[in-house]
């Protein structure tokens, strides 16, 4: 691993990441042992329903987990070339407000939030905010940075960027705002772009535009994308690899084709069956997953999915937690149905 970073090496490896929250009422294990790799020029999808820990995972990578949460254990390894071979930085060990992580955050790793309205300042023009980001990370003058910001806005498909740059976030439509957000995330040429539900607040036709934009940008800039979403349709359209999470645990991960056409974990299977599909026969009942997602304080013992699982094995699933097992090339699943430890 001391050789220069090859295309086949992951640029970001998360290993056994545990991020817990410690409110007064008890401990919430928001992320409980997540491991995955991110490759350059590839899109990794992290899917799951609310409370599965997908957003906290993203925030952990950038070290912006809010109190009372913190990373309890695990490592987040960022690989980069430093002339004399590859260097590995463990983001999990850094001081969350130190200069190192602040250099990486917004620089090497960009972030696109779900709600572009709340992530821009309402009292500053969007241009100023992009210029600020650029000048924070690059030694350029104000005018140069502004020129760059206009170019960026143009590259994400905002019409008349010279004029738009002086507008406030509320003057832009949802789609344009998300484009501006992406422009800001790209301003320092990140190697990894984390997009947390980038299209959830948007209409379908706008969503299609933004997904197209992300794909084209990836082709052009060659960055890795971590796409966090609950929408399996978006995952199928965008991702190369998928991580499925449930209550803080990775239940299954693998290439996108395997996840959609040969899912192994009962949760993945049930989730795929239960989504309303545009190809379905009209007015038919959908297969459902029994029950609902448990409250984080009432986390079930053993496999967190066992109370809702159709393949529940008493005495096994509720006794201990399964670990990720390799079931096929590149595909891992954490379920006692597939060999147990």
């Amino acid at each position: 691993m001391t050789d220069p970073v090859a295309e086949s090496d992951p640029i970001l490896s998360v290993r056994d990441l545990k991020t817990y929250f410690f409110p007064d009422e008890g401990t919430v294990k928001a992320v409980d042992g997540a491991s995955f790799d991110v490759y350059t020029r590839k899109t990794l999808g992290i899917v799951g329903e609310s409370g599965c820990g997908k957003s906290v995972t993203a925030r952990s990578i950038l070290r912006i987990v809010e109190r009372p949460g913190r990373i309890v254990s695990g490592s987040i390894l960022l690989r980069r070339d430093e002339g004399n071979g590859a260097a590995e930085l463990d983001l999990a060990q850094m001081d969350p407000s130190g200069p190192e992580i602040r250099h990486i955050r917004g620089g090497e790793i960009g972030l696109v939030f779900q709600e572009p309205m709340t992530s821009f300042s309402p009292v500053h023009p969007i241009g100023n905010q992009i210029v600020e980001t650029i000048r924070l990370h690059q030694p350029v003058t104000k005018d140069q940075a502004r020129e760059k910001a206009v170019d960026l806005l143009r590259s994400v498909g905002i019409p008349k960027p010279e004029r738009r740059i002086d507008e406030y976030a509320f003057e832009l439509s949802g789609g344009l705002r998300q484009r501006a957000m992406i422009a800001m995330a790209l301003s320092c040429g990140p190697r990894i772009l984390i997009a947390d539900e980038p299209t959830t607040a948007l209409d379908v036709t706008t969503q299609a535009q933004i997904l197209d934009l992300l794909r084209n940008l990836q082709e052009r800039e060659g960055m890795a994308i971590i796409l966090i979403t609950h929408n399996l349709g978006v995952v199928a359209e965008m991702c190369d690899a998928v991580v499925v999470m449930y209550l803080g645990r990775v239940v299954e991960q693998g290439p996108v084709d395997a996840i959609f056409h040969a899912p192994k974990h009962p949760y993945t299977k049930a989730l795929l069956r239960s989504i309303p599909s545009i190809h379905a026969t009209i007015r038919t009942t959908l297969p459902t997953i029994a029950g609902s997602i448990p409250h984080p304080y009432n986390r079930p013992a053993g496999c967190p999915f066992h109370p809702r699982c159709p393949d529940f094995m008493p005495g096994t699933c509720d006794a201990s937690e399964p670990n990720l097992q390799r079931v096929a090339e590149d595909q891992e699943v954490s379920c006692f149905l597939y060999g147990s430890k």
Binding site: E49, S50, S173, G174, G175, L176, D203, V204, T205, T206, Q207, A208, Q209, L211, D212, H230, N231, L232, G233, V234, V235, A236, E237, C239, V256, D257, F260, H261, K269, A270, L271, L272, R273, S274, I275, P276, S277, I278, H279, A280, T281, I282, R283, T284, T285, L286, P287, T288, I289, A290, G291, S292, I293, H295, P307, R308, C309, P310, F312
Partner: protein, 363 residues
């Protein structure tokens, strides 16, 4: 679905404009044409869905029908329980009161639509109390019956909404809507705030209740996959107008309006092998305060010709039950969405799991 069924709701020429006021004198400088000449009907026992993107006027239309807001113009003819037809649009508040028992609403957000300081009993019994229906004991029994109907345990009725998950709260909202035996239910995005695994439960519940209680739904949604599961007919709206209305099957397999085609194409399909060429619409939804000339969709339409820029198309019935508002409806051959994948789905075996479907298992 039903050929000669009577129309429960008949909306004719509905308009709702919101004034734009500027300056100290609050002079009217323009109008947002939120709903502009909308015509449709809903037959008894069927589900009509209004779909479209944000700002298309679908929610405003549904709110006009319930008279949560008063329309600017148009008729909303509603057939009451005793068979008389009344125009909801012109009734005064006291006249509306008895009608409100017959049309109820299911809200989008199950978190903000339930009062956190009142118990389930208070919430579900409220329509009964407000309308003086039955004695206290009868109300209690009715609430228990309603909770059972929506898959919740009656023992929960003394609890507060915070003890329930999103899906369970939506069930509470449905129970409240059903309390007075309404004939029409307006459901405004009833599942869009829910997790996917819970969406299916609520959609199934709504379908089951419809056949059990002979309900008529006006379903407002933006998600075409959800709409497909519940609708008999669909009306697609764009900038305050209905651009296409047809039976669900017809609309999905053979859309006639370019906007419908683009909408269908834009929905991300949950199958990586179907990464086909999507139609990505350029630009933005037109401003309903300042709509473009001619057909409102022409600046984004890939089939637009000269006539589209100058003349406004009318909603016309090009096949029985299939209404389109497009100059080129008869010459275009548009691509719909088939049912190819449904047969390729894994067999649906033990899907409801050991607990038997409803999420009333634990609170």
């Amino acid at each position: 679905m039903m050929g000669s069924a009577e129309r429960l709701l008949d909306v004719k020429g509905l308009q709702k404009f919101f004034p734009i006021r500027r300056g100290i004198l609050q002079r009217e400088v323009g109008r947002v044409r939120a709903v502009d000449n909308v015509n449709f009907y809903v037959e008894k026992g069927e589900t009509l869905s209004l779909v479209g993107e944000s700002g298309c006027g679908k929610t405003t239309t549904s709110r006009c029908i319930l008279r949560a807001i008063s329309p600017t113009a148009g008729e909303i003819l509603f057939r009451t329980g005793d068979g008389t037809v009344v125009d909801v649009a012109t009734l005064s508040k006291p006249q509306l009161r008895p009608l409100r028992r017959q049309m109820q609403m299911i809200f989008q957000d199950p978190f903000s639509s339930l009062n956190p300081r009142r118990t389930l009993l208070d919430i579900v019994a409220e329509p009964l109390v407000a309308n003086n229906v039955g004695t206290r004991q009868e109300q209690l029994d009715r609430v228990a019956e309603l909770l059972r109907l929506v898959g919740l345990r009656p023992e929960y009725m003394r609890r507060y909404p915070h003890a329930f998950s999103g899906g369970q709260r939506q069930r509470i909202g449905i129970a409240r809507a059903l309390a007075l035996n309404p004939s029409l239910i307006v459901a405004d995005e009833p599942v869009s705030a829910l997790d996917v695994s819970v969406q299916a439960q609520i959609l199934n519940l709504m379908l089951a209740l419809q056949s059990q209680l002979d309900l008529t739904y006006l379903f407002v949604a933006h998600d075409l996959s959800v709409v497909k599961h519940v609708s008999d007919r669909i009306a697609v709206m764009y900038v305050g107008q209905i651009v296409e209305m047809a039976g669900t099957q017809q609309l999905f397999t053979a859309p006639k309006h370019p906007y419908t085609e683009a909408l269908l194409s834009a929905v991300p399909k949950p199958d990586p092998r179907l990464r086909t060429q999507r139609i990505v619409l350029e630009g933005e939804v037109a401003d309903s305060a300042n709509p473009p000339s001619g057909c409102y969709f022409h600046p984004r339409c890939r089939y637009a010709v000269d006539v589209c820029r100058t003349e406004t198309p009318r909603l016309e019935e090009i096949q029985p039950g299939h209404f389109v508002s497009c100059h080129r409806a008869n010459e275009l051959c548009l691509k719909g969405v088939g049912e190819s994948r449904s047969s390729g789905r894994p067999p649906v075996g033990r899907t409801t799991g050991p607990r038997g479907g409803a999420d009333g298992g634990g609170a």
